[in-house]
Protein backbone atom coordinates (compact mmCIF):
# COMPACT_ATOMS: atom_id res chain seq x y z
CA UNK A 1 0.00 0.00 0.00
CA UNK A 2 2.79 2.39 0.93
CA UNK A 3 4.53 1.74 -2.41
CA UNK A 4 1.29 2.47 -4.28
CA UNK A 5 0.79 5.68 -2.31
CA UNK A 6 4.34 6.84 -2.92
CA UNK A 7 3.98 6.20 -6.66
CA UNK A 8 0.69 8.11 -6.73
CA UNK A 9 2.37 10.91 -4.78
CA UNK A 10 5.10 11.05 -7.44
CA UNK A 11 2.54 11.16 -10.29
CA UNK A 12 0.58 13.89 -8.51
CA UNK A 13 3.58 16.06 -7.71
CA UNK A 14 5.12 15.51 -11.16
CA UNK A 15 2.03 16.51 -13.13
CA UNK A 16 1.26 19.47 -10.86
CA UNK A 17 4.81 20.76 -11.23
CA UNK A 18 4.95 20.29 -15.01
CA UNK A 19 1.66 22.17 -15.47
CA UNK A 20 3.12 25.13 -13.57
CA UNK A 21 6.68 24.92 -14.87
CA UNK A 22 6.34 24.36 -18.63
CA UNK A 23 4.32 27.50 -19.42
CA UNK A 24 6.59 29.62 -17.22
CA UNK A 25 9.66 28.39 -19.08
CA UNK A 26 8.30 27.99 -22.62
CA UNK A 27 5.60 30.65 -23.06
CA UNK A 28 6.86 34.16 -23.00
CA UNK A 29 3.90 35.45 -25.03
CA UNK A 30 0.29 35.83 -23.92
CA UNK A 31 -2.32 33.29 -24.97
CA UNK A 32 -4.39 35.13 -27.58
CA UNK A 33 -7.05 32.48 -28.15
CA UNK A 34 -10.17 33.80 -26.46
CA UNK A 35 -11.82 30.40 -26.11
CA UNK A 36 -8.81 28.90 -24.29
CA UNK A 37 -8.54 31.98 -22.07
CA UNK A 38 -12.18 31.69 -21.14
CA UNK A 39 -12.01 27.94 -20.69
CA UNK A 40 -9.11 28.32 -18.24
CA UNK A 41 -11.04 31.03 -16.40
CA UNK A 42 -14.10 28.82 -15.86
CA UNK A 43 -12.28 25.56 -15.11
CA UNK A 44 -11.61 26.09 -11.36
CA UNK A 45 -15.29 26.81 -10.66
CA UNK A 46 -16.42 23.84 -12.71
CA UNK A 47 -13.98 21.52 -10.93
CA UNK A 48 -15.04 22.70 -7.48
CA UNK A 49 -18.74 22.32 -8.36
CA UNK A 50 -18.25 18.76 -9.62
CA UNK A 51 -16.24 17.89 -6.50
CA UNK A 52 -18.86 19.39 -4.17
CA UNK A 53 -22.01 17.87 -5.67
CA UNK A 54 -23.30 15.37 -4.79
CA UNK A 55 -20.37 14.45 -2.47
CA UNK A 56 -21.37 17.05 0.14
CA UNK A 57 -24.61 15.15 0.85
CA UNK A 58 -22.70 12.10 2.09
CA UNK A 59 -19.85 13.98 3.77
CA UNK A 60 -21.08 13.60 7.36
CA UNK A 61 -22.59 10.88 9.55
CA UNK A 62 -26.04 11.16 7.88
CA UNK A 63 -28.09 12.89 5.17
CA UNK A 64 -29.94 15.22 7.58
CA UNK A 65 -26.80 16.62 9.21
CA UNK A 66 -25.20 16.99 5.77
CA UNK A 67 -28.23 18.92 4.46
CA UNK A 68 -28.24 21.24 7.47
CA UNK A 69 -24.49 21.78 7.19
CA UNK A 70 -24.93 22.47 3.46
CA UNK A 71 -27.74 24.99 4.11
CA UNK A 72 -25.63 26.86 6.66
CA UNK A 73 -22.61 26.91 4.33
CA UNK A 74 -24.75 28.09 1.42
CA UNK A 75 -26.23 30.91 3.50
CA UNK A 76 -22.85 32.14 4.79
CA UNK A 77 -21.13 31.77 1.39
CA UNK A 78 -23.92 33.80 -0.21
CA UNK A 79 -23.15 36.64 2.20
CA UNK A 80 -19.47 36.28 1.31
CA UNK A 81 -18.13 35.17 4.68
CA UNK A 82 -14.53 33.92 4.76
CA UNK A 83 -13.53 30.38 3.76
CA UNK A 84 -12.72 29.34 7.29
CA UNK A 85 -15.90 30.82 8.77
CA UNK A 86 -18.07 28.98 6.25
CA UNK A 87 -16.22 25.69 6.75
CA UNK A 88 -16.25 25.84 10.55
CA UNK A 89 -19.94 26.82 10.77
CA UNK A 90 -20.91 24.02 8.38
CA UNK A 91 -19.07 21.55 10.62
CA UNK A 92 -20.69 22.95 13.77
CA UNK A 93 -24.16 22.77 12.21
CA UNK A 94 -23.57 19.15 11.15
CA UNK A 95 -22.13 18.26 14.55
CA UNK A 96 -25.00 19.82 16.50
CA UNK A 97 -27.56 18.16 14.23
CA UNK A 98 -25.97 14.76 14.79
CA UNK A 99 -25.77 15.40 18.52
CA UNK A 100 -29.48 16.33 18.67
CA UNK A 101 -30.18 13.16 16.68
CA UNK A 102 -28.63 11.02 19.41
CA UNK A 103 -30.91 12.63 22.04
CA UNK A 104 -34.23 11.94 20.31
Amino acid sequence: MTKYWLLQLAVMAGVTYLVRMLPLVIFRKKIENKFIQSFLYYIPYAVLAAMTFPAIFSSTGGLVSALIGFAVALFLAFFEKGLVTVAVCACLAAFITEWIGTLV
Binding site: Q8, V19, L24, V25, P44, M51, T52, G69
Partner: protein, 244 residues
Amino acid sequence: MQANTENTYINRFQKGVRDGIPIALGYLSVSFTFGMMAVAGGLPVPLAVAVSMTNLTSAGQFAGLSLMLSGGGYFEMALTQLVINLRYALMSVSLSQKLHKSVTLLDRLLIAFGNTDEIFAVAAGQPKEVGKKYMLGLISMPYIGWALGTFLGAAASAVLPENIRSALGIAIYGMFLAIFIPPMKKSKAVAAVVGISAALSCIFHYVPILNRISSGFVIIICAVIAAAIGAWLKPVSAEQGAAE
Protein backbone atom coordinates in the same frame (compact mmCIF):
# COMPACT_ATOMS: atom_id res chain seq x y z
CA MET B 1 22.97 50.22 -5.63
CA GLN B 2 20.06 48.49 -3.90
CA ALA B 3 17.92 51.61 -4.17
CA ASN B 4 18.83 51.90 -7.81
CA THR B 5 17.65 48.42 -8.78
CA GLU B 6 14.59 48.88 -6.57
CA ASN B 7 13.46 51.68 -8.82
CA THR B 8 13.23 49.47 -11.86
CA TYR B 9 11.71 46.32 -10.37
CA ILE B 10 10.60 44.83 -7.04
CA ASN B 11 13.17 42.43 -5.65
CA ARG B 12 13.45 42.56 -1.85
CA PHE B 13 13.26 39.20 -0.11
CA GLN B 14 11.84 40.81 3.08
CA LYS B 15 9.03 42.48 1.15
CA GLY B 16 8.15 39.12 -0.35
CA VAL B 17 8.09 37.48 3.07
CA ARG B 18 5.86 40.24 4.44
CA ASP B 19 3.43 40.00 1.52
CA GLY B 20 3.30 36.23 2.00
CA ILE B 21 2.25 36.22 5.66
CA PRO B 22 -1.50 36.76 5.10
CA ILE B 23 -1.45 33.96 2.51
CA ALA B 24 0.36 31.68 4.97
CA LEU B 25 -2.31 32.27 7.64
CA GLY B 26 -5.05 31.36 5.19
CA TYR B 27 -3.16 28.24 4.13
CA LEU B 28 -2.76 27.05 7.72
CA SER B 29 -6.46 26.34 8.10
CA VAL B 30 -7.00 24.85 4.66
CA SER B 31 -4.02 22.51 4.94
CA PHE B 32 -5.12 21.65 8.49
CA THR B 33 -8.32 20.28 6.95
CA PHE B 34 -6.30 18.41 4.34
CA GLY B 35 -4.03 16.82 6.94
CA MET B 36 -7.02 15.80 9.00
CA MET B 37 -8.90 14.25 6.09
CA ALA B 38 -5.79 12.43 4.84
CA VAL B 39 -5.15 10.76 8.18
CA ALA B 40 -8.86 10.12 8.83
CA GLY B 41 -8.90 8.32 5.46
CA GLY B 42 -5.97 6.11 6.42
CA LEU B 43 -2.86 7.89 5.16
CA PRO B 44 0.15 7.92 7.53
CA VAL B 45 1.04 11.38 8.94
CA PRO B 46 4.44 11.67 7.14
CA LEU B 47 2.82 10.83 3.80
CA ALA B 48 0.11 13.48 4.29
CA VAL B 49 2.82 16.07 4.99
CA ALA B 50 4.85 14.84 2.01
CA VAL B 51 1.85 15.35 -0.31
CA SER B 52 1.58 18.98 0.85
CA MET B 53 5.31 19.63 0.60
CA THR B 54 5.54 18.34 -2.96
CA ASN B 55 2.25 19.64 -4.40
CA LEU B 56 1.31 22.94 -2.77
CA THR B 57 -2.19 23.08 -4.22
CA SER B 58 -5.58 22.70 -2.53
CA ALA B 59 -8.13 21.36 -5.02
CA GLY B 60 -5.54 19.09 -6.65
CA GLN B 61 -4.50 17.58 -3.35
CA PHE B 62 -8.06 16.92 -2.18
CA ALA B 63 -8.89 15.24 -5.48
CA GLY B 64 -5.59 13.33 -5.39
CA LEU B 65 -6.25 12.22 -1.83
CA SER B 66 -9.64 10.76 -2.68
CA LEU B 67 -8.04 8.87 -5.59
CA MET B 68 -5.24 7.54 -3.37
CA LEU B 69 -7.74 6.37 -0.76
CA SER B 70 -10.07 4.75 -3.30
CA GLY B 71 -7.22 3.02 -5.14
CA GLY B 72 -7.50 4.96 -8.41
CA GLY B 73 -5.15 4.28 -11.33
CA TYR B 74 -1.97 6.19 -12.15
CA PHE B 75 -3.28 7.48 -15.47
CA GLU B 76 -6.48 8.62 -13.80
CA MET B 77 -4.39 10.48 -11.22
CA ALA B 78 -2.28 12.17 -13.89
CA LEU B 79 -5.32 13.24 -15.92
CA THR B 80 -7.19 14.48 -12.84
CA GLN B 81 -4.24 16.58 -11.73
CA LEU B 82 -3.76 17.91 -15.25
CA VAL B 83 -7.36 19.10 -15.55
CA ILE B 84 -7.72 20.46 -12.02
CA ASN B 85 -4.40 22.28 -12.19
CA LEU B 86 -4.77 23.52 -15.75
CA ARG B 87 -5.51 26.99 -14.43
CA TYR B 88 -1.91 27.21 -13.22
CA ALA B 89 -0.80 27.02 -16.83
CA LEU B 90 -2.65 30.26 -17.52
CA MET B 91 -1.24 31.84 -14.37
CA SER B 92 2.29 30.74 -15.29
CA VAL B 93 1.92 32.23 -18.76
CA SER B 94 0.78 35.47 -17.16
CA LEU B 95 3.45 35.41 -14.42
CA SER B 96 6.08 34.74 -17.06
CA GLN B 97 5.53 38.25 -18.38
CA LYS B 98 5.66 39.78 -14.93
CA LEU B 99 9.16 38.46 -14.15
CA HIS B 100 12.09 40.83 -14.58
CA LYS B 101 14.66 39.94 -17.24
CA SER B 102 17.25 39.17 -14.52
CA VAL B 103 15.26 36.03 -13.61
CA THR B 104 17.15 33.08 -15.08
CA LEU B 105 15.85 29.74 -16.35
CA LEU B 106 16.93 28.06 -13.11
CA ASP B 107 15.05 30.70 -11.08
CA ARG B 108 11.96 30.06 -13.19
CA LEU B 109 12.17 26.33 -12.47
CA LEU B 110 12.10 27.18 -8.76
CA ILE B 111 9.44 29.91 -8.89
CA ALA B 112 7.12 27.68 -10.94
CA PHE B 113 6.80 25.29 -7.99
CA GLY B 114 5.30 28.02 -5.81
CA ASN B 115 2.87 29.49 -8.33
CA THR B 116 -0.38 29.01 -6.40
CA ASP B 117 -3.59 31.01 -6.96
CA GLU B 118 -2.87 33.38 -4.08
CA ILE B 119 0.86 33.81 -4.69
CA PHE B 120 0.16 34.48 -8.34
CA ALA B 121 -2.52 37.02 -7.42
CA VAL B 122 -0.16 38.95 -5.12
CA ALA B 123 2.74 38.89 -7.62
CA ALA B 124 0.45 39.94 -10.48
CA GLY B 125 -0.88 42.80 -8.34
CA GLN B 126 2.58 44.41 -7.93
CA PRO B 127 2.91 47.76 -9.72
CA LYS B 128 6.28 46.81 -11.32
CA GLU B 129 8.04 43.72 -12.60
CA VAL B 130 9.20 41.32 -9.89
CA GLY B 131 12.58 39.67 -9.34
CA LYS B 132 13.79 36.32 -8.05
CA LYS B 133 14.40 37.40 -4.44
CA TYR B 134 10.94 38.92 -4.08
CA MET B 135 9.28 35.80 -5.53
CA LEU B 136 11.23 33.42 -3.28
CA GLY B 137 10.34 35.56 -0.25
CA LEU B 138 6.71 35.58 -1.29
CA ILE B 139 6.64 31.79 -1.66
CA SER B 140 8.49 31.03 1.61
CA MET B 141 5.82 31.79 4.23
CA PRO B 142 2.85 30.19 2.42
CA TYR B 143 4.99 27.07 1.85
CA ILE B 144 5.81 26.81 5.56
CA GLY B 145 2.17 27.50 6.47
CA TRP B 146 0.92 24.83 4.07
CA ALA B 147 3.31 22.16 5.39
CA LEU B 148 2.84 23.07 9.05
CA GLY B 149 -0.96 23.18 8.80
CA THR B 150 -0.98 19.74 7.19
CA PHE B 151 1.14 18.31 9.97
CA LEU B 152 -1.01 19.86 12.72
CA GLY B 153 -4.23 18.63 11.07
CA ALA B 154 -2.81 15.15 10.57
CA ALA B 155 -1.63 14.98 14.16
CA ALA B 156 -4.93 16.34 15.52
CA SER B 157 -6.99 13.85 13.52
CA ALA B 158 -5.43 10.95 15.36
CA VAL B 159 -6.75 12.21 18.72
CA LEU B 160 -10.23 13.48 17.73
CA PRO B 161 -13.31 11.40 18.65
CA GLU B 162 -15.34 9.80 15.84
CA ASN B 163 -18.42 12.08 15.99
CA ILE B 164 -16.30 15.21 15.60
CA ARG B 165 -14.32 13.66 12.75
CA SER B 166 -17.51 12.77 10.89
CA ALA B 167 -18.83 16.33 11.21
CA LEU B 168 -15.49 17.64 9.90
CA GLY B 169 -16.06 15.80 6.63
CA ILE B 170 -18.19 18.70 5.41
CA ALA B 171 -15.46 21.32 6.05
CA ILE B 172 -13.82 21.10 2.66
CA TYR B 173 -17.14 21.37 0.80
CA GLY B 174 -18.11 24.38 2.92
CA MET B 175 -14.85 25.94 1.83
CA PHE B 176 -15.51 25.15 -1.82
CA LEU B 177 -18.96 26.77 -1.55
CA ALA B 178 -17.32 29.87 -0.07
CA ILE B 179 -15.04 30.00 -3.13
CA PHE B 180 -17.57 29.58 -5.93
CA ILE B 181 -20.83 31.07 -4.54
CA PRO B 182 -19.71 34.76 -4.34
CA PRO B 183 -18.56 34.94 -8.03
CA MET B 184 -21.86 33.29 -9.04
CA LYS B 185 -23.66 36.38 -7.75
CA LYS B 186 -21.58 38.66 -9.95
CA SER B 187 -21.45 36.56 -13.10
CA LYS B 188 -24.37 34.63 -14.60
CA ALA B 189 -21.85 32.73 -16.72
CA VAL B 190 -19.99 31.45 -13.64
CA ALA B 191 -23.36 30.55 -12.10
CA ALA B 192 -24.27 28.60 -15.25
CA VAL B 193 -20.90 26.80 -15.34
CA VAL B 194 -21.25 25.79 -11.68
CA GLY B 195 -24.85 24.67 -12.22
CA ILE B 196 -24.04 22.59 -15.30
CA SER B 197 -21.02 20.97 -13.67
CA ALA B 198 -22.92 20.15 -10.47
CA ALA B 199 -25.90 18.74 -12.41
CA LEU B 200 -23.67 16.55 -14.59
CA SER B 201 -21.80 15.33 -11.53
CA CYS B 202 -25.10 14.31 -9.88
CA ILE B 203 -26.18 12.49 -13.05
CA PHE B 204 -22.92 10.52 -13.07
CA HIS B 205 -23.38 9.66 -9.42
CA TYR B 206 -27.01 8.54 -9.45
CA VAL B 207 -27.72 7.10 -12.93
CA PRO B 208 -27.00 3.36 -13.19
CA ILE B 209 -24.06 2.32 -15.44
CA LEU B 210 -22.78 5.94 -15.46
CA ASN B 211 -22.13 5.63 -11.73
CA ARG B 212 -19.51 2.96 -12.41
CA ILE B 213 -17.17 5.60 -13.83
CA SER B 214 -14.62 6.50 -11.18
CA SER B 215 -14.80 9.86 -9.43
CA GLY B 216 -11.60 11.27 -10.92
CA PHE B 217 -12.86 10.91 -14.48
CA VAL B 218 -16.31 12.21 -13.52
CA ILE B 219 -14.74 15.46 -12.26
CA ILE B 220 -12.74 15.82 -15.47
CA ILE B 221 -15.72 15.12 -17.76
CA CYS B 222 -18.09 17.45 -15.88
CA ALA B 223 -15.58 20.28 -15.54
CA VAL B 224 -14.41 20.19 -19.16
CA ILE B 225 -17.98 20.15 -20.53
CA ALA B 226 -19.19 22.92 -18.19
CA ALA B 227 -16.15 25.17 -18.74
CA ALA B 228 -16.30 24.65 -22.51
CA ILE B 229 -20.00 25.63 -22.56
CA GLY B 230 -19.15 28.69 -20.45
CA ALA B 231 -16.27 29.70 -22.73
CA TRP B 232 -18.47 29.21 -25.80
CA LEU B 233 -21.45 31.15 -24.45
CA LYS B 234 -19.63 33.92 -22.63
CA PRO B 235 -15.94 34.44 -23.48
CA VAL B 236 -14.02 36.47 -20.88
CA SER B 237 -11.23 38.99 -21.42
CA ALA B 238 -7.59 38.29 -20.56
CA GLU B 239 -7.74 40.78 -17.67
CA GLN B 240 -10.66 39.01 -16.05
CA GLY B 241 -8.95 35.66 -16.49
CA ALA B 242 -5.66 36.84 -15.05
CA ALA B 243 -7.39 38.49 -12.10
CA GLU B 244 -8.59 35.08 -11.00
